[in-house]
């Protein structure tokens, strides 16, 4: 039994199940995506990338998706920052309020929430277009913007705002010169946490616009469903690179 004791006593062992899970369901599929993007029946090729860059259609969808993701992120930021700022005021941030804002939305599945949004828009006779799409995505991802901003604001030393006031700054200058610059790390992580999932979203878009608006995620799904595994993989890889770049952007700025 000693070997078992040794095995369980070693903390690293406890991470193995997760490592195995990651290897099978994350790393392996990623490697397959890379493989199928460059290799088909005829061996190594870059023709699927060429196909993407030559097809105005898919490039347009790509740019459109980035646009939608940017608009969603911007709306999240504009709605989320004031909310986080308000909550960072200690008297409002009771555990109950925090639970309501961050845990309660998680009680309901994303798809159910999205379907409910569709029903709501129908009921109010609103058109299911880009507006509905942005609304639905903001609704889904807003907590991911609020939380990191709230976190940095809440950790900020209150004597910094007092020092600014003491040096003659009115409330607006205190915000512009001290609070806002010091909360930028939270803003960057909020942007990354909203932008990354919104750019690759597809199910939400399909439901909210009755498939009227096509996002890049949908294009990938359609291609793979249609058996065009290599082209779908190449598109996925392009998307992955874009997402990877945004997360580097976030990392760089949180370091400062």
């Amino acid at each position: 039994m000693n070997w078992l004791k040794n095995l369980l006593g070693n903390r690293r062992v406890w991470a193995y199940p997760y490592a195995v899970f990651m290897a099978i369901f994350v790393i392996l599929p990623l490697l397959l995506v890379v493989y199928f993007s460059f290799v088909d029946e005829g061996g190594f090729t870059i023709r699927y990338f060429q196909k993407f860059f030559l097809a105005t259609d898919s490039i347009n969808t790509f740019i459109y998706s980035i646009g939608i993701a940017m608009v969603t992120t911007l709306v999240c930021l504009l709605v989320g920052y004031p909310c986080a700022y308000f909550m960072a005021n200690k008297s409002f941030a009771t555990p109950k309020v925090m639970a309501m804002l961050f845990i309660l939305p998680m009680w309901i599945n994303v798809l159910l929430r999205t379907l409910a949004t569709v029903a709501l828009f129908d009921f109010m006779h609103l058109e299911l277009d880009e507006g509905a799409l942005v609304f639905g995505m903001v609704y889904n991802f807003l907590p991911f913007m609020i939380y990191p901003i709230y976190n940095t604001l809440q950790k900020m030393d209150p004597s910094l705002t007092e020092a600014a006031k003491d040096l003659g700054a009115n409330d607006f200058r205190v915000f512009k010169d001290v609070v806002l610059p010091l909360s930028m790390p939270g803003v960057y992580s909020g942007i990354v946490m909203v932008f990354m999932p919104t750019i690759s979203t597809f199910a939400v878009a399909e439901l909210l616009t009755m498939n009227n608006v096509k996002l890049f995620g949908t294009v990938i799904q359609e291609n793979i469903n249609a058996g065009l595994l290599n082209y779908g993989s190449a598109l996925s890889l392009i998307l992955l690179i874009i997402i990877g770049l945004t997360s580097f952007f976030g990392n760089d700025d949180t370091k400062n």
């Binding site: 030393d157 004597s159 007092e162 003491d166």
Partner: protein, 349 residues
């Protein structure tokens, strides 16, 4: 003209947080150019008083005046005062120059004039050529100096200092005490300094305000407060004291430890019960009895403290008398204690 002698007047100020009174009916006049220290144990309300002068808190009752004008409800950014915060509160996203420039930029000062003032302020605190440094590259002492420069560069009428030296080590603290006194002299502005360190207060200030339990206990020059404490709290808090129960037999004669001892205090009722305050350094010990001994006892401990020895002498009544002397006594030795009449201080009970 009489009004103008005082730069800050605190009149009957009371402050309560959720029914809990932290300051009650505090009145305080501060003269122009004075170095005033507000001294007291933690929780005595001294920081709250400073924060109300700065404008971060509003009094529940009472008025605060600056040069005779009511400023009780004026927000901090409109007050011609600056604060040096306890944990410095330097802006981490700005470098040394930008931190010091913060107040001047808000005033919209011209670049050239600002440059000159910042260089002067940094010179005054001894941080030449630190302009481009980041805040997190500085030591605690250097951050402290930046915080002072950031405040004084605005040429405030009053500089408020909230326990600014408490985070520094002993040696650096002594050094900064002297530096602050030098700056006070050079700048000629009023300093209001909050501390819980009595030694710091006695060293630096023109006037010491001793607070406890939200009330001002005593106000005066360091020497006055040390020599003539008005009550046992002040006697105990400022320096070390033996506080002994006694009876005032008549003017200039007090009875304690069963002996009638000459003193210089007058004006008490006949046979009034009093506290007799005796500073440890004023007691003289001898192994030979003499006429003016106020008690005898046995030496219970004797420790070397650098300059002097600190001894505890147990009297017949069981009181542990603290004594400081350059000469040590054997432990277990019977000793006779004497004191000069003017070193005895009698306080009403």
């Amino acid at each position: 003209m009489e009004e103008n002698e005082y730069i800050i007047q605190v009149e009957q100020v009371t402050k309560a947080f959720d029914q809990k009174v932290v300051l009650s009916k505090v009145s305080l006049n501060i003269k122009r150019g004075e170095f005033v220290t507000i001294l007291g144990p933690s929780g005595c309300g001294k920081t709250t008083l400073l924060r109300m002068i700065a404008g971060f808190e509003t009094p529940t009752e009472g008025v605060i005046k600056l040069e005779g004008n009511d400023i009780t409800k004026i927000p901090p950014y409109k007050r011609p005062m600056n604060t040096v915060f306890q944990r410095y509160a330097l802006f981490p996203h700005l470098n040394v120059y930008e931190n010091v420039a913060f107040g001047l930029q808000i005033k919209g000062m011209k670049e050239k004039e600002m440059d000159e003032k910042i260089v002067n302020a940094l010179n005054l605190v001894g941080l030449q050529d630190f302009e481009e440094r980041n805040i997190n590259q500085l030591s605690g002492g250097q951050q402290q100096r930046v915080a002072i420069a950031r405040a004084i560069v605005n040429e405030p009428k009053v500089l408020l200092l909230d326990e600014p030296l408490s985070a520094l080590d002993m040696k650096l603290r002594k050094e900064m005490q002297l530096e602050l006194m030098r700056m006070h002299k050079e700048l000629g502005i009023t300093f209001i300094f909050v501390t819980h360190d009595q030694e710091e207060a006695l060293t630096m200030s023109d006037t010491v305000v001793v607070m406890n339990g939200g009330v001002i206990q005593q106000m005066g020059t360091p020497k006055h407060i040390y020599d003539e404490p008005v009550n046992t709290f002040v006697a105990d808090f400022i320096g070390e004291s033996n506080i002994i129960d006694g009876i005032m037999l008549e003017d200039c004669l007090v009875k304690f430890f069963g002996n009638n001892v000459k003193c210089v205090d007058k004006g008490f009722a006949k046979n009034a019960e009093v506290h007799v305050v005796i500073r440890p350094e004023d007691v003289k010990l001898s192994i030979e009895p003499s006429d003016n001994n106020f008690c005898t006892g046995i030496v219970r401990s004797c420790n070397f403290k650098g300059v002097h020895y600190e001894m505890y002498v147990e009297t017949k009544e069981g009181y542990m008398l603290q004594v400081q002397d350059y000469h040590s006594q054997e432990i277990g030795q019977e000793v006779y204690a004497s004191i000069d009449p003017f070193d005895i201080h009698v306080i009403e009970k």
